[in-house]
């Protein structure tokens, strides 16, 4: 009898513990903090800047928020917030506002977002975002392989607002997913990999001024930042020159 009640207590404790962990980890996030609190937290965690204005709060999903801000030093920066350990935390601050690729979930390309906050002094009119894989061929023992060039483009206007968050276009996601699916199927042996040229895909951007001439955003490129660790994945987006782009019409 004693043994039985001991067992029951054990089970009850386990269930309560499990429920608490579940609540802690998986419950709905609290409402996002008010503006004053955001400013305070940004300034506390990165004393090199003094944020004075929050421009927007963009929810990428329920647990990831991008917050563009302006500082006293007249820098246009970005802060990345995550719902973690049951509170809203700053994962990364970047006082340069040139585009980066934010991956909310690394394994799911439809959760990738371009994020930018261009300094108005740079007077950009638009940005072209690119998704590229280089053309390549390989010949060995009469076995040929060829990978076509991928070059897909999406243009964004900066006329209404100079900051933004844009989900990766659906077609780009499809191409990335098809590629990873084919890699999953029939894993090639390492000695075969060399039959295929480099198949890595990357992202780029071309900044334009209001007259649609290439223009380098000097002011937006300056800045620094800090990161609390691996909480958010931010990828560098290469700046392209128009001369490197194929089939310009």
């Amino acid at each position: 009898m004693k043994k039985k009640s001991f067992l029951m207590t054990g089970i009850a404790v386990a269930v309560i513990l499990f429920a608490m962990i579940y609540w802690f980890e998986f419950s709905e996030p609290n409402p996002f903090p008010p503006i004053e609190q955001l400013l305070e937290e940004i300034n506390n965690s990165y004393p090199e800047v003094t944020a004075k204005l929050i421009q927007d709060t963009s929810f990428v999903d329920e647990r990831h928020v991008v917050v563009p801000f302006i500082s006293n030093e007249n820098m246009y920066g970005l802060s990345y917030w995550v719902w973690k350990n049951h509170e809203w935390q700053i994962a990364e601050i970047d006082t340069s506002g040139i585009p980066r690729l934010f991956k909310a979930n690394k394994n799911n390309p439809s959760s990738y977002y371009f994020v930018w906050n261009i300094h108005p002094g740079d007077a950009l009119g638009s940005i072209e975002f690119y998704f590229v894989r280089d053309r390549n061929f390989y010949v060995s023992d009469n076995i040929h392989t060829y990978s076509p060039k991928i070059q897909m483009m999406k243009e964004v206007s900066l006329k209404d607002k100079s900051y933004g968050v844009m989900q990766l276009p659906e077609e780009w996601v499809t191409i990335i997913e098809e590629f990873s699916k084919s890699q999953l199927a029939n894993k090639p042996s390492p000695s075969f990999q060399h039959f295929f040229p480099d198949q890595s895909m990357y992202f780029g951007w071309i900044p334009y001024d209001e007259m649609k001439r290439e223009s380098y955003p000097e002011l937006s490129s300056n800045g620094g930042g800090f990161s609390t660790g691996d909480d958010v994945e931010l990828e560098h987006v290469m700046i392209f020159n128009r001369v490197d782009v194929e089939y310009l019409k």
Partner: protein, 237 residues
């Protein structure tokens, strides 16, 4: 992600058969042996016995493993030898583990021709068997708009002929004698959302040629190139 299109039924079946055979063999040895070993220890010994030095080579784009040195058996020998009795008890299972490598070898050797018979790798229908959710994505700006997949694409695929890939020529044709800004891609379209033949596990990337009459299939193991008389795609004006 759809698991179905990457599931290789032939390999899976032969894997199950191989493991069943090995377990049956272990069972037979266990029955015959007079001093019975502990069952869980016996299984661990068998799995350690699998560990071997082997020669690997490629046969029709698959890896063939030929076991040479029974490393696992030697390791077990050094561990169990001091206790003479347990080495006697478990020795046979260590060797079953080593010889089991040859069962896997046989399974691979059977898988290859059978997979080829059911899913011939030079037939387009192996790679494209369902176009219900198919769509065409223009992956290069030299591609013309948003073409559509023809309804009778599957029938047309049957008539397509395999041809040689001249990758270096294709590459040179595009890159040499042309400004970066004027380059056209030879394969500016990708066919997406198709399924390979069920159970082939051959999910591939499928590119469509500029004129709509050629298909380049890219599996992780090889590439194949097919041409047709008529265009496979419809252009929307």
């Amino acid at each position: 992600m759809n698991i179905e299109s990457t599931f290789d039924v032939v390999a899976t079946v032969f894997n199950i058969i191989a493991w069943s055979g090995i377990l049956f063999w272990v069972y037979r040895v266990y029955k015959k042996q007079i001093i019975k070993p502990e069952i869980w220890k016996m299984l661990i010994v068998m799995i350690v016995g699998l560990f071997s030095f082997s020669i690997k080579f490629n046969l029709f784009q698959s890896i063939i493993n030929i076991p040479i040195l029974p490393l696992g058996v030697w390791i077990l020998y050094f561990i169990l030898k001091p206790r003479e009795e347990s080495w006697q008890k478990y020795r046979s299972f260590a060797w079953v583990g080593f010889w089991a490598n040859f069962i896997f070898l046989a399974a691979t050797l059977l898988t290859l021709p059978i997979h080829y018979l059911i899913y011939p790798n030079d037939k387009l229908s192996t790679y494209i068997s369902n176009i219900e959710h198919a769509a065409i994505v223009t992956i290069h700006p030299s591609g013309n708009g948003q073409p559509l997949v023809k309804d009778d694409l599957l029938n047309q695929l049957e008539t397509m002929e395999k041809q040689k890939i001249n990758s270096s020529e294709w590459y040179q044709d595009i890159v040499i004698n042309s400004d970066t800004n004027e380059r056209n891609e030879r394969f500016p379209y990708q066919l997406v959302g198709t399924f390979p033949k069920w159970g082939s596990g051959l999910h591939s990337i499928i590119y469509i040629e500029e004129d709509g009459k050629g298909i380049l299939v890219s599996t992780p193991k090889e590439q194949l190139y097919f041409r047709s008389e008529m265009s496979l795609i419809e252009r929307v004006e």
